[in-house]
């Protein structure tokens, strides 16, 4: 091969490798992974306190990832956090009375929403509201409980409704 072409080939390889590395970093090691590609439907849930929950946090049922947190807003009337969940269309048989809970993976890990299935024959559809929710576990509250010994007071599990 003539030397000029082998330069060009080596340089081309270098450029391709660089862009491939960048593409891998951007798509496989970042929150882009958490974008569900398929179609989804939106369900809302209201929490008294969402703690450190963030946009695009996973939504899991029985540990299986079924969707992501799409939007977090504050409902000014009830002063509750309104969380919109985008659940993949594939999972369309989730009972309407399922229970949503904000959990933490590990002690310092990320927060995610865990759904526990209820027993209702009706299923969640686009626009449904999940009634049964439990707020994020606040470490400060937990410590406070231990300190005062007043277990089960209003500061603890402030389950909505």
């Amino acid at each position: 091969m003539n030397p000029r072409r082998s330069y060009a080939a080596g340089t081309g390889l270098f450029i391709l490798l660089g862009f491939a590395a960048l593409a891998y970093l951007a798509t496989q090691t970042t929150s882009l992974v958490n974008f569900d590609s398929g179609p989804s439907y939106d369900v809302t849930a209201e929490f008294a306190n969402i703690g450190g929950l963030k946009d695009r946090a996973p939504v899991k049922l029985a540990g299986v990832r079924i969707g992501t947190v799409k939007r977090i807003t504050l409902d000014q009337r009830s002063m509750d956090a309104r969380v919109t969940l985008a659940i993949s269309d594939r999972y369309n048989q989730i009972p309407e009375d399922s229970y949503a809970k904000i959990m933490t993976s590990g002690l310092l890990g990320d927060q995610f929403i865990s759904l526990s299935p209820g027993g209702s024959p009706k299923v969640l559809k686009s626009g449904s509201l999940i009634d049964n929710t439990q707020s994020a576990l606040q470490i400060e509250d937990l410590i406070g409980k231990f300190m005062t010994g007043s277990g089960g007071s209003k500061a603890g599990s402030s389950g909505k409704k």
Partner: protein, 257 residues
């Protein structure tokens, strides 16, 4: 008294004059850049020399930095019981800070010095004057392709460095220290952003690339045409680039955060 003032201010003025001259050189370089683009073959050759030939050192360094990072951070995180965040912390340290800075320092040592020495030698052996005599502008034919190649190569090298760093970190964290593979990745993917972390680091890489290439080409282009002159210019390239990288890193981190 006056002598003391002169002695104090002289190096300062020299430094200022140097920055000024480098800035003026950049202006000349930018005006020559469009004409430099008419030599795509030269650009390709230089990309080979500064980019492809830096790959090995960048890959090996990236791997080891990732491995060390994994060991150190595992130890620190285990104090707080937060080893599940290992992937996140490795990725963030690499993307935002270590990737661009370490790659830039290596690049200045590997490619910057090569550019300075080569251009300096071309000056010393009258090759640049010969080009001028053949009605070829060395700013366009010699300086521009080298500058441009450095600017293009840096972000690509940083991406490769980061990738190797993640692999190194994964190797130690998951294979050796026994963190769960799924935890390592899921924790990373839910906390690392494309724009705020990956692209943020690539911006730094681009800016470092501009400064290293500019300093390297300028030092070579203006090196005194003696062996001592070229040697000194090469040293100055490393020193000036390193200081510029670290200072710019601080400024950019403060503004990009």
């Amino acid at each position: 008294m006056k002598q003391l003032a002169v002695r104090l201010f002289d190096p300062l003025l020299d430094g200022l004059a140097n920055i000024g001259r480098t800035g003026l050189f950049l202006l000349g370089l930018l005006t020559a850049l469009p004409r430099g683009l008419t030599y795509p073959r030269e650009l390709l050759r230089q990309l080979w020399f500064v980019g492809a030939k830096s790959l090995i050192i960048i890959m090996i360094s990236g791997l080891f930095v990732g491995m060390v990072l994994s060991l150190q951070l595992y130890y620190t995180l285990s104090i707080f019981g937060g080893t599940s965040a290992l992937g996140t912390v490795i990725a963030l340290s690499l993307y935002r800070e270590l990737g661009p800075v370490v790659t830039a320092l290596l690049f200045a040592g590997r490619a910057g010095t090569a550019i300075t020495a080569e251009v300096g030698l071309m000056r010393a052996t009258d090759q640049l004057s010969a080009m001028e005599m053949m009605a070829v502008d060395p700013m366009a034919f010699v300086a521009s392709p080298r500058f441009l190649a450095g600017v293009i190569a840096m972000p690509l090298l940083v991406a490769v460095f980061n990738l190797m760093g993640i692999f190194g970190g994964h190797l130690i964290g998951v294979t050796w220290l026994g963190i769960d593979n799924g935890t390592f990745w899921s924790n990373m993917t839910s906390n690392v952003g494309v724009w705020k972390d990956v692209i943020n680091g690539e911006w730094k890489a681009l800016v470092f690339g501009v400064f290293i290439s500019l300093i390297a080409v300028y030092q070579g282009y203006t090196a005194p045409p003696t062996s001592e002159g070229v040697a000194n210019a090469t040293t100055r390239t490393v020193v000036s680039s390193s200081i510029a990288i670290l200072a710019l890193d601080f400024v950019m981190t403060a503004f990009l955060m």
